[in-house]
């Protein structure tokens, strides 16, 4: 019972981390700029202004956008399927479908973070990776742990 609650809490926390990483525009941070994946916040004249992204390698940026959105979708799907399988799975069987969905989510967020690291902001010296970027990698670790857990875990047989 405790283990079940722990797994569900961890899964929900992972979904929240993935959503924050995808939605918040803070993959690359400066003193006055907070940018990616969808827009650019610039602090000029003591106010934050939101502008579109310009002069980016379009294919890589859109690939990062797509894979991070897909990671969110698959993580949420995995939670729904897990709850469904709790009620429908025969005793003693593994949660394979949930595990596979969670593994795909892990793969997607790994692809997103890797492409971002390799292709975007490679030549800029001013600025550091922001909290969304860090959260993306943390949620990669969590989704991997959860996927392995679901693939090994067996439904309790009386």
């Amino acid at each position: 019972m405790l283990m079940l609650a722990g797994i569900v809490v961890l899964h929900i926390a992972t979904i929240i981390l993935l959503l924050v990483a995808t939605i918040d525009n803070a993959w690359w941070i400066n003193n006055t700029v907070s940018t990616d994946l969808w827009g650019r916040w610039e602090f000029t004249n003591s106010a934050w202004h939101y502008t579109n992204l310009k002069n980016y390698p379009e294919e890589y940026l859109q690939a990062v956008q797509a894979t991070s959105v897909l990671a969110c979708i698959f993580a949420i799907l995995a939670l729904i399927v897990f709850v469904a399988q709790l009620f429908t799975l025969p005793k003693g069987q593994r949660f394979t479908f949930t595990g596979i969905l969670q593994l795909i989510a892990c793969l997607c967020i790994m692809i997103a973070a890797s492409i971002y690291t390799a292709e975007l902001h490679t030549n800029e010296t001013e600025g550091v990776y922001g909290h969304s970027y860090v959260l993306a990698w943390i949620s990669f670790v969590f989704t991997f742990i959860l996927a392995i857990t679901y693939l090994i875990l067996r439904k309790k047989s009386e």
Binding site: N52, E58, E59, Q62, A63, Q65, A66, V69, L70, I73
Partner: protein, 203 residues
């Protein structure tokens, strides 16, 4: 900017609606057609006056690059578009479009309230096309795999639960043995484990 002044016979000039594209992308060295069509409920005559003005990025004044009045088109031959501008509209059909040929990077034009021309080396990918394509393809594949999985399970389940007798050697051998040609051989159909099958012995 496309300024329309319509002279309507006998009546006060009513407001007319002007349709132009907001932002056009074009390739270096190519042509672009800047369209300007106007609409008015009242019948408009050929005596319509309109002009295209051009204001470069950062400049204050705008210059007129094309003027049409009294049925005659006047193309500017001193400005940046000389020899490159062609009038391809039809005022009788309420179309005041112009064609600019042989584009260059200097032709980047930005104005707040009308046609805006941007010249690129190659046309940029629209925002979100690749994103949407990737998401759509992956989700579609997932749906396809789930559907195929359940279809296979449904089809295999139908085969397992039907009554069937499976004779291993084959029907022609059974016929031969029935004719008495195989002494000492016993043909026995094997039951499929887990199902109800008719077990028959040929002795």
């Amino acid at each position: 900017m496309c300024i329309m002044i319509v002279f309507v016979h006998y009546l006060q000039s009513q407001a007319i609606m002007i349709y132009t594209g907001w932002e056009r992308h074009a390739l270096v060295g190519g042509d672009v057609r800047l369209s300007c069509s106007f609409f008015s409920w009242r019948w408009t005559s050929e005596e319509v006056t309109f002009s295209w003005t051009y204001r470069p990025d950062g400049a204050r004044d705008s210059i007129s690059i094309f003027h049409y009045t009294g049925g005659v088109a006047y193309v500017d031959n001193k400005g940046p578009f000389r020899d490159r501008l062609e009038f391809v509209g039809n005022p009788g059909r309420r179309d005041g479009s112009i064609l600019i040929k042989n584009l260059d990077y200097n032709d980047n034009v930005g104005r707040p309230s009308s046609v805006r021309l941007l010249v690129f080396e190659k046309v940029p990918i629209q925002a979100g096309v690749i994103t949407g394509a990737i998401i759509g393809v992956v989700l579609g594949l997932l749906v396809l795999i789930v559907v195929i999985y359940y279809l296979m399970r449904f089809l295999v389940a139908r085969r397992v639960f039907s009554l069937s007798v499976r004779s291993v050697p084959g029907p022609w051998l059974a016929a031969l043995c029935q004719a008495g040609l195989c002494q000492g051989l016993e043909l026995r159909p094997e039951p499929i484990p887990g199902t109800d099958t008719c077990v028959a012995k040929l002795a």
